[in-house]
Symmetry: C2
Subunit: 646 residues, 2 copies
């Protein structure tokens, strides 16, 4: 309710209160105007602000700190923080080693490439990244996406190992370039175009697809489809049912799956026991490997890892395609994989930053992620990003800074140098069960229910992405997700809401009559609120919608034998901008109303709108007197005219 | 200014006024909800409204009238209306005959096809269309576009006349299908996505391109480039300068061009003489033809029309490609040409409808235009649509109904049957000068200046389309126009405006402090208005922008030694909708503010927003007490707390 003490007396004395006119904002020159709008688009976070009024050397230090945040937080680093980081780092290392080996298989790469990708990228990130909680490394969804896209180009990854790997590094390089460029050119806002709803659906679909792929390892099937859609996979599974399933493999796989899901459940039930879930995968690998090693179950058809290259990352600089058609293919795959990886990492970073209340600079973050993948592509790593599950464990284990990533990286280094031969007897079934247990968390039923409750359109987008992924492929799902996200934006700007306003009794506040049942319309005056910027995409609709409101109300008035409408007041508060098409429509509306002897009145136009209305001479057309500061103001001024006989 | 009489006393008595709570709108069931939103998207004009409460036979009549508006207005047609239509029809006929012959050349078709397209389509339109002023027939821009697109597929239109023509009819058929389908499925709003600014630029670019093409005919150049970009054309013209220009042709062309431009100027200067400009083209043709006929200037190298088939439209049903790859090519070309033709026709229709104050049903109009092109494609016509210049002449000549199109159609019929042989000696130079004089009007300098003044982004879109057309090709220009239009929409939803609000002295109205210089902020309370629906594309930006406002204000407060901010009031009036991402961001914002011991307060959320805030339990999170009906309400309630020591 808006109330005033002063002017109420003035109105009753018969004087029409016009203390405040709608002001035109101070005129800015063009250059300033363009500058401001560019700044708000690309530099909305004012990155140069800390540099202001600083001496030269200090500026250089700030500049270095901008790209290497470790220089900033490193100076206040102490032993107590290190304790937290050490424990968190060891915990996520125990989680990441088995996951790395498993995820590399999702990307159709040999297991050591997963480990490589958990060694170099986290190190780079620790120096350049600004998130304190994110855990870097290969993740399930990106591995699957990369594997699918690469396989489209090189169908037989086993027969063409080198060619496949080279394309993978090329794609990783361009994924890094994409991420770096988006951050460097401050285009980070582009990833906001993938809506939350679409991501939820895409992730769930990817999780189901990944889990289905694991049926191969879990059931010990030899001839498995290369396709990822649910129909092909289930057909593969059934056709192998009679002789293709290996019961020893199934026993191993299903029992460890049950164990992992159980520990996950315990960890979820009681947050104190999160470490049980965290070390379960490594324990499973150790137990299963030991078991297979002594029973030699591999001779019964249980498929095992067999071999992981020992030693740290070899250089892969010369394996990247710097020319030729594979450069372009790598570029295309890299852009897609890079964007998806970025979306995941930024979402994780933001979530944890909000939890601990620190600011995360999205563009800086992208530069860090891009750099780590560029370096990674030259050191035999494939696309790494922030992992949902490992970041959550990192957070719960009490990490303080990115040092936990360094600790994890060191453990992976030791693993690579010392113990890779021990993974020889690790059964693939246990890796499959680790993957399934990991991706279960990506299906967020709660979020889907919330989408359904809050926004049906979001729900449709979510389901579209989900079914696109499981029935077709990850790319199609992604495409559907992006398309639906865009459709939503377009629909929003094409069919904006309008509302009929009425006066709340005892106040001078005008509100939507559909929301406030006791709001009453003013006889002779039609008050309509337009709830959107008026642009070419909706200007015509808005014009016709206003005329439709008018038609309805005139019909209503005729039925009730009331006097007809004489004024149309457009409440412009929500109209944040108007373009030439919008002004055109207003001119047409004014002409139409004039023909019917109705007056168009505007209330509370925004600064930019009033400026444009003046520039286009529309103000002269309807008369400056017909623009009011508020609806209340307009109604008090207009009412007398309708009551007088004139 | 919003003022109240009643409650002001209540406030001073110390009671916090809470007469009106923010109400949740009455709950609608899901089906109803979806129905409403579908209805608003596709049936916003309530097409079924007139059918309500009507008896059966009347319903059928209304249904017929819906598709054939002539049944409605025909019943009140009388002689005085016919007089107007007759004069207007004869005037536009005199204008269209020479234009038809000239435009057919733009589309690389033989001259009679231009005349055919001015015979059948206007007849069909007269029965089905609802615009009273539009003049139907071939137009310059669509002819050029069609010519370019067809030539991309069949480069040598002279050597492959039949193949070229068949593809032209196929494209025309699909242009009609596209138009019909858009109207029938009520997707007409899709053409609104081509912004006014983009159309202005595209039209101007097309006009320049068309004029440049006419240099061939005007200068009598034999070897002319097939490309349409300005660089190729000018190179063609210069390289032909020494021996390729024909002076006799130039004399004819330039003198008639001067004559036509002069009459055009007279017609514009004094509206009474519009008919001078209208009959000038036909007079030019008659004079030039007569002159060439007696001097036999064609023997001096003056190129002439030579031959136009006599007789009415032959059937072309069997020339349309119903199968094969040309079907797909025709489909692609048809969709583009159909959309551009539609945009032009609908823009014309709307302009004149607003002038004479009648409603134009966009979807019905599209069905009419589509039908006429479908029938046209089977009767040797190429894509016809509404012509800007001829419709204006039609309007000024006093047309009353679509009967003027029937009159024009009859004149074209007589031309086809009787006098086509007389066009034998018509020099191409005079046709070129007619085209140039016609397209000059498409360059709307005034509109461009207005764009520059009102909206810089629109100006850039306009220039992009313009330069795209003249330096590259019509398709590229069109693509740029569409791309920039979309970019504008996306930018609008990614970077919405926010404003800091202050109180206008002597009122309880809160307005943007940048617009109203005397608005003052309230100490301890930060009031921010968010000027857009909060969607995934901007939710993160809005959150960060609010935190930035907070940072700035806290700095300011520290400098002035004021007490810090305790409340953040978000004025939600312009926030017309919120989605799950938006609620997410609000939750994060709330968490961040909570960490800093600040309270988040919302003012005046819209019905749909409050509903979603309840559904998502966000209301519970910040407390129902922190949602107010208006900013004024919030400030009066919150202020006491900040003053008390607690």
């Amino acid at each position: 309710m808006e109330i005033a003490s002063g002017p109420s007396s003035r109105r009753h004395s018969g004087r029409l209160p016009h203390i405040h006119k709608v002001e035109r904002p101070p005129k800015q020159n063009l250059l300033r105007d363009i500058q401001d709008s560019l700044k708000e688009t690309f530099f909305s976070d004012e990155p140069l602000r800390p540099y202001k009024d600083q001496p030269g050397p200090r500026k250089f230090l700030l500049f270095l700190q901008h790209f290497f945040p470790i220089l900033e937080w490193g100076r206040t680093y102490n032993l107590s923080k290190f304790k937290g980081d050490l424990i968190a780092g060891l915990t996520i290392a125990s989680l990441c080693v088995p996951q790395d080996i498993a995820y590399a298989k999702l990307a159709n790469l040999e297991p050591q490439y997963g480990l490589y990708s958990s060694f170099v990228p986290p190190l780079i990130y620790a120096f350049m990244g600004s998130s304190r909680d994110i855990a870097i490394g290969p993740v399930a969804v990106v591995s699957l996406l990369l594997g699918t896209l690469l396989q489209n180009e090189i169908p037989d990854s086993q027969a063409n190992k080198l060619a496949y790997r080279r394309l993978a590094f090329t794609a990783t390089f361009f994924a890094g370039i994409t991420q770096f460029a988006l951050g460097f050119f401050r285009l980070g806002f582009l990833i906001d175009f993938l809506s939350h709803a679409a991501i939820v659906g895409f992730m769930a679909g990817a999780a189901v697809t990944i889990a289905l792929q694991q049926l191969k390892g879990l059931l010990g099937i030899k001839n498995f489809t290369k396709k990822t859609d649910i129909v092909s996979v289930m057909r593969s599974v059934w056709s192998a049912a009679h002789h293709g399933w290996n019961w020893q493999t199934m026993v191993i796989g299903l029992s460890f799956l049950a164990f992992l899901l159980f520990t996950k459940y315990i960890g979820k039930k009681n947050k104190k026991f999160f470490w049980v879930a965290a070390i379960a995968p490594l324990s499973s690998v150790v137990i299963a490997t030991f078991f297979v090693g002594i029973t030699h179950a591999e001779k019964q058809g249980v498929s095992i890892v067999r071999h992981i290259d020992r030693g740290i990352n070899p250089s892969s600089f010369h394996e990247i395609h710097w020319t030729g058609e594979f450069l372009l293919k790598g570029l295309r795959i890299g852009v897609v994989a890079g964007m998806v990886a970025l979306t995941e990492a930024v979402a994780i970073g933001r979530t944890f930053a909000a939890m601990k209340d620190y600011q995360l600079d999205g563009n800086k973050e992208m530069v860090a992620l891009g750099s780590m993948n560029i370096v990674g592509s030259m050191t035999s790593c494939y696309v790494a990003t922030g992992s949902f599950s490992r970041s959550a464990v990192n957070f719960m284990a009490g990490c303080k800074t990115a040092v936990s990533n360094i600790v994890m990286s060191c453990v992976v280094l030791l693993t690579l140098v010392l113990i890779t031969p021990l993974f020889k007897y690790t059964p693939n079934a246990v890796l499959a069960s680790i993957i399934i247990a990991a991706v279960v968390g990506l299906v967020d039923i709660g979020a889907v229910i919330l989408l359904w409750k809050i926004d049906k359109f979001d729900f449709v987008a979510c389901m579209g992405a989900f079914f696109g992924v499981i029935f077709k492929s990850v790319e199609i799902g992604l495409l559907i997700a992006v398309a639906i996200s865009f459709a939503k934006i377009l629909l929003q700007v094409t069919r904006p809401r309008t509302a009929l306003l009425g006066k709340l009794p005892g106040t001078n506040v005008y509100r939507n009559v559909e929301q406030y049942s006791n709001a009453t319309t003013v006889p002779g005056i039609l008050i309509i609120r337009v709830d959107s910027a008026i642009y070419f995409s909706n200007s015509n609709y808005i014009k016709e919608r206003i005329l439709r409101w008018l038609g309805n109300e005139e019909e209503e008035a005729k039925k009730l034998n009331q006097s007809g409408i004489q004024f149309i007041v457009i409440e412009m508060s929500p109209v944040t901008d108007i373009d030439t098409s919008g002004i055109h429509s207003f001119e047409e509306l004014h002409k139409t109303l004039q023909n019917r002897e109705l007056q168009l009145v505007l209330a509370n136009p925004a600064p930019i709108v009033i400026e444009k209305l003046y520039e286009s001479k529309f103000v002269n057309l309807i008369g400056e007197d017909n623009i009011f500061l508020s609806v209340a103001d307009a109604v008090t001024t207009l009412t007398p005219k309708t009551q007088e006989p004139a």
